[in-house]
């Protein structure tokens, strides 16, 4: 069956089976390998993307179930000139990553939080990132990065 989505603002489509996960479609059909697969069991959050603005684990959504949706992946987070987006830059500035495996999911989860709560408290950031696991950083620098990015985003 054919699935058509808007991915990072561009219309994209491809052939899938019923069982094709959104993560598989993004990585294998569209070659958008920034979305990482850590656990494939809904635990780690490395595969986090946005579907119509909502944060989802793309390993736990069938591609056909989000037919017609607008999907944003980590590849859509850079500025139009290719430089790092605000949250990405904050992760670099505050050493919010070591191996970088969890980072795409962390950035997508943080972006979903900041979109609805541009000035979160540190506790709100930690609560929001509960579904994203990092084996390297110990989380403190990730939280620092998100707080820094939140200051930088003007309240709407």
């Amino acid at each position: 069956m054919k699935v058509s989505l808007t991915v990072n603002g561009k219309p994209m489509s491809g052939e899938v089976e019923g069982r094709t996960l959104l993560s598989t479609f993004l990585r294998e059909t569209l070659s958008l390998t920034g979305t990482h697969i850590g656990c494939d069991t809904s635990q780690c959050g490395a595969c986090t993307v946005h579907v119509d603005g909502a944060q989802v684990k793309s390993c736990t959504v069938f591609a056909l179930d989000v037919q017609g949706s607008s999907v944003t992946t980590i590849e859509g987070m850079a500025n139009t000139d290719g430089s790092l987006g605000r949250i990405q830059q904050a992760f670099q500035d505050h050493h919010g990553l070591q191996c970088g495996f969890c980072t795409p999911g962390m950035v997508m989860a943080s972006a979903a939080l900041l979109a609805v709560n541009p000035t979160p408290t540190e506790a709100e950031v930690r609560h929001h990132l509960e579904g994203n696991i990092c084996r390297c950083t110990g989380y403190h620098n990730i939280v620092k990065a998100v707080m820094a990015a939140s200051d930088a985003i003007p309240a709407e």
């Binding site: 089976e17 944060q55 069938f62 179930d65 989860a109």
Partner: protein, 259 residues
């Protein structure tokens, strides 16, 4: 994962018809079912997505009753106004991604012994509405992963009479964030109902000794020192039956304090 035919009907009638085909199963948020399918614990031949049915989505309040469409995600219940105890329960399920997809209908159909919603449904004496009938909470839950639902029957909505005071207190299993023991307390005038999830091998249950004590005095201190029998409670690496038995009274007191 075994392959299947995927259908996404726009109405309950079409969904029910599709579920009549051999090997068909309903898919709501997929936050439980997709994991089971990856492990081949479920292998439907036809998957019928309920997420495209507008009639199954949304929260409304009227005449002291909150009605929630079966395919309404937890995140939407968390944002709803009119029943703060239930919104706070929904806002504490899993993590933001699970709340964006997972639904009340899927949670109740699955009836995981550690799931949060069953405690609210039982404590409030809510009504589970299906495409065939209305089921009272007291008749709906029939033990771990077992419900009154028949083959091909789907939940369409859940109706909660809104309590005067209510709260959910969950002692989280920190890795999964499911309840190690969770208690929902609901007070309607002189009547108090207490429902416990996460603790029993039989799934959600009412703690009637706690209800009697709270009906005599609606105060956290009323359940202090009340003993719960560990017989039939869950034993796993996270806690013994005695540990969970103690948590029942502790979490009830916390729920009363928060209500």
């Amino acid at each position: 994962m075994q392959n299947f035919d995927f259908v996404k009907p726009a109405s309950v009638a079409e969904a029910v018809a599709a579920l009549g085909t051999s090997g068909a199963q309903a898919l709501s948020g997929g936050q439980t079912l997709i994991g089971s399918m990856k492990q081949n614990l479920a292998a439907p031949a036809v998957l019928v997505s309920l997420t495209g049915i507008a009639a199954l989505k949304g929260v409304s309040v009227s005449g002291g009753v909150m009605s929630i469409g079966a395919a309404t995600p937890h995140a939407e219940v968390a944002k709803a106004s009119g029943f703060p105890g239930l919104s706070s329960l929904a806002g504490g399920i899993g993590d933001p991604a699970v709340r964006a997809r997972g639904t009340i209908g899927g949670s109740l159909a699955n009836n995981d012994p550690a799931a949060c919603y069953p405690s609210a449904v039982l404590a409030c004496g809510a009504t589970v509405v299906t495409n065939r009938r209305e089921i009272a909470a007291d008749d709906y839950f029939q033990g771990m992963f077992t419900t009154a639902l028949e083959d091909g029957e789907i939940i369409t909505a859940v109706r909660f009479p809104i309590p005067e005071r209510a709260a959910y207190a969950k002692f989280e299993q920190p890795a999964s964030r499911f309840s190690l023991t969770g208690v929902f307390v609901a007070k309607y005038g002189a009547k108090v109902r207490v429902a416990v999830t996460g603790a029993s091998n039989d799934g959600v249950f009412r703690w009637t000794d706690g209800e009697d004590a709270l009906q005599a005095s609606y105060d956290p201190a009323a359940v202090k020192g009340l003993k719960v029998s560990p017989d039939g409670l869950i034993a796993d690496l996270h806690g013994t039956p005695a540990y969970r038995a103690n948590l029942v009274a502790v979490m009830t007191a916390r729920a009363v304090a928060a209500s």
